[in-house]
Subunit: 200 residues, 4 copies
DNA sequence: TATGAATGAGCATTCATTCAT
DNA sequence: CATGAATGAATGCTCATTCAT
């Protein structure tokens, strides 16, 4: 079955986004070289410009695609059978798996650095928004303390997860996956001093 | 009293570091222009190269200086009179004050983004190291739960603080300083679900 | 009646020449974009290359077509009933009408700028040649002064007409068509100081 | 006597303008290559950008400089001793000399082609403006016919001079300098049919 | 030490042209 | 014949770094 012209075009576009993800993740937006992206995608430099207006536009597409994957993964973890603790753990398992597979892209998506990178902000905001809804519900249902501000707590949780994984990616030997997921759940839910409520 | 030649040189060096902090913070390392830094410092571009080997070297100095300020601030907060809660709150107050004053520089110092920025890692590592010591002591003293891994928890705390402040700097109207500091203490210590132990 | 394949091809070719005339006129040869010409012609970029070897070849066709229109118009004005003055005025009326309709194309055809544009030269040369013949006849018939060099005078006339119209196209409010044609005839025939010979 | 730094900078700037004049004149604005201009000026490509914002800005400077030379030359010809005919001839001698020396630059300055080249328009406008003043005075003094519109006539004269010289530069063997200047005066003043008024 | 004009390698982007469909 | 995605050489411009003054 021969590929149609438009299928081939979509394929080229995909290759560019994948290659862009890799290079942007490794070198950052400013550091990424169009030539490297094209080479990694296996196309000519000019081809990039038949699909995206410029480097920035490709970056936005990469971020948009990454955001979709991350958000879809989080949404799916909510479908997990079981109580809150199980769903929460499923979410952390998903995030850790994503970080392990995509590594640098995970960093690119979640990081918040110097300079204005609206798309980067957008991804972090979207993830935080998802968690804010959960925390608000948690306050109603009583499993989130009343003294918690959901906006603030969501940011703290995103930061905690990102920084721990960022460190772990560079020091994978320091903890097993299981320990990592465990800590991620524990610290977010109970802090370092908080007492764990009785079951039931 | 006329300034000695060496005093003048030190002054120029300081101006360059201050200007560098501003420009690096605003534009990132790759985005920063040597010409902008020189202009902001009020010296010629060539002067920069009589003080620093290259752009990278200036960046390292900026980060080193920032790191010193942050670490000194944290150390000082440990001198505060009172119990653990008071010291912890003092630390958060210091961090919030620093973020308010330095804004973009705070972001630059604490962020962990794409690309290899050894100095950026160094700053985050140093802050985490400080907290790891405290958490280890806490485990011995019993105020940190036994199921906490200090290495992991310290990273989570740094991430939580950085991301919350990063968000707050862009949305200062969402919370007062007091509320911010409050949440920072609460989330780090007790998470969103953890019970707060009885006083005494 | 369905169009035959060859008729369709001719039609496409015409559309390309018309579109080329517009774009070349507006942007110049170097400034014209093949993509713009194709878009304006309503065909794909590749189609252009099934009709013309390259951009230069299309430009040559555009100029050739324009040259034909201009020369035909001038020839026709010579068929006008009446004496020399009437024929001359008819020629100027034709030129003004052409400039009004085609605007930028008129400029493209008549201008002589930097760089070597053999076709541009060819058009100007052809118009001048036409006038040289008339002036030579005029010398024989006595209505052109003996001290006039037809080669030189023809160039002057072409230049005078082109520059006045070039200015007028940008400043149409400065003169009515009638005044314009009037000045065109007067200045070419009698200069600014020359006496107008008695009628008869 | 060593050149000061600022003198050297001015020298570099001059070399760039001269080189720019040559390359722009030969290839047009779009056709001119920054690398060629730099090479011709004997400097690095980057140097061009320490003196001019971009190619366009250099082009403007070239045109401005050329305009000044041309206008100064015309003004000087008005200082010539003698009657109107002598001054007029002096002006034509000056223009011919300029065209002979600068050749392609003369074409660049005076031409009006496709596309919007505001500086090119400005030069032609300035020369026309100079002549308009003279023609208006001529109408008052009676040596310009009453039926002449100075605005229109000035454009015609500029066009006549430019086109004749443009042709002559490519066909220098067709006329001697003297004949050229003669025709330039005659055609502009008396047209091809106009009677030359009696002396006195 | 300070200066800032000059350098030139490096890069993003353009666009005429090709060719598989 | 028509198409338009792909090509890649060519080009304008940037900017960290140097060095004569």
């Amino acid at each position: 079955m021969a590929k149609s012209r438009s299928e081939k075009k979509d394929e080229t576009r995909s290759k560019l986004i994948t290659a862009g993800a890799g290079v942007f993740a490794r070198r950052g937006v400013e550091g990424a070289r169009i030539g490297d992206i094209a080479k990694e995608a296996g196309v000519a430099m000019g081809t990039l410009y038949t699909h995206f207006a410029d480097k920035e536009a490709l970056f936005d597409e990469v971020m948009r695609a990454g955001k979709t994957i991350v958000l879809d993964g989080l949404a799916q973890s909510q479908q997990a059978d079981g109580d809150r603790a199980i769903k929460d753990r499923a979410a952390m398992e998903g995030v850790v798996a994503f970080a392990q597979i995509y590594g640098p892209l995970f960093r690119l998506l979640l990081s918040r650095g110097a300079g204005d990178q609206p798309m980067q902000r957008e991804v972090v905001d979207a993830i935080a928004a998802l968690r804010i809804t959960e925390l608000e519900q948690g306050k109603k249902d009583g499993w989130v303390r009343a003294d918690i501000n959901p906006d603030a707590a969501a940011r703290c949780e995103v930061g905690a997860v990102f920084h721990l994984l960022d460190w772990w990616l560079d020091n994978p030997g320091k903890m097993t996956d299981e320990e990592l997921i465990d800590q991620l759940c524990r610290v977010r839910r109970f802090g370092v001093e908080g007492l764990i409520p009785e079951q039931g």
